[in-house]
Symmetry: C2
Subunit: 219 residues, 2 copies
């Protein structure tokens, strides 16, 4: 009879599956993302998802790329330094908004289209700044590691190493201070400003790239 009958329950699609999984991970952590749970959140059985996703790995890869797709695009109107800063900071803040994503992105080998777009933008920026292709390639890897892995470390420390067997307090006094003197001394006085640290390394990369550009050009 009514030809649009099934609209009582919106039709499934890869995008809807991925979106549901991302939402689940955002709200209840990555461990909450199982085929069954994603199914439940869509009002559907687990096995139905397999029509739209090859397997769980494919789903996880899709989630990662979904998040990376939210990275801002390159601003071509500014100098390469500022352009690179924009790309890196934008990626950083998106990753912070989805704390499970950095870990997934670093731990799995697949590279989706959004990630390719991102590295393309980074390389484009570096080339525009005068890098040789080889230098742009190497620097891109360094930038990628900074974006994904530094952010990941930041997120881990944010939860606090305190929670995981080696509390900070214990390190700063007694046996800890004796066994790891430099670390203890440093932790005692250093500030733990994630943003500042992230920027510190970013500038460190930029300065290094700058130098590599000029030495390769100048001879």
């Amino acid at each position: 009879m009514n030809p649009r009958r099934r609209a009582q329950r919106a039709v499934l699609s890869r995008d809807r599956v991925l979106a549901a999984a991302v939402e689940l991970a955002d709200e209840h952590g990555l461990d909450a993302v199982s085929m069954r749970r994603v199914g439940v959140s869509l009002g559907v059985e687990a096995m139905s998802l397999y029509r739209h996703v090859h397997n769980k790995d494919d789903l996880l890869d899709g989630m990662v790329d979904d998040v990376i797709a939210r990275f801002p695009a390159r601003d071509e109107a500014v100098g390469w330094r500022e352009s690179l800063r924009g790309l890196v900071r934008g990626a950083h803040s998106v990753l912070l908004a989805h704390p499970w994503a950095a870990g997934l992105a670093t731990s799995r080998p697949a590279v989706g289209p959004a990630r390719l777009r991102f590295v393309d933008a980074v390389i484009g920026t570096l080339l525009a700044g005068g890098c040789s292709p080889q230098l742009a390639h190497d620097a891109m890897h360094a930038v990628e590691v900074h974006v994904f892995a530094f952010t990941l470390q930041e997120l881990r420390l944010q939860v606090g190493p305190s929670a995981h067997g080696y509390p900070l307090d214990e390190l700063l006094s007694g046996a800890g201070a004796a066994a790891y003197p430099h670390l203890a001394a440093t932790l005692a006085v250093a500030e733990h400003d994630h943003v500042a640290e992230f920027e510190f390394v970013l500038e460190l990369l930029i300065v290094g790239i700058e130098r590599a550009i000029s030495t390769s050009v100048g001879g």
Copy 2:
């Protein structure tokens, strides 16, 4: 009677459990490390392991620290630059020998004693080079990320992105080259020498640290 009777089957211990798990991971990959399989490789039931390991997370954390414990110690007889290079390269090569370890180390929050010793050595080196405690702290994080995450990326690319949905060849021609022009152009000419890239970033870090030391001292 004989008080040392049970030696027919060497007694279990945390170290033996960890060693068996590490060996399993080395030989058959991290996925092969399940409580039951580790048990089998020790001639023991899975549940027996729980006398020596709190749970599986504890086992994984132990494996990571076991590998990190093999990192070479700091050479205090050379300058800070060479000392840092030694630490980083030593860590790098140990991680390459246990391909599963870098991924585990970056993905889990716990920090064991061996890792603390490692970062203590790094910080000691940096302080000896004239870093302020704050700078040593920040630079240490950058070094840690380089050691663990850059190595991890290297291992992932070694298996080849080719295997995972976005083959290199496809990128270099046709649609790939159109969608990601800078990336395609760069990949076409760049060499992929992991060692060189690792050294490139290491020197980049050292130069940056050097500069940060001198600017903070000089005012």
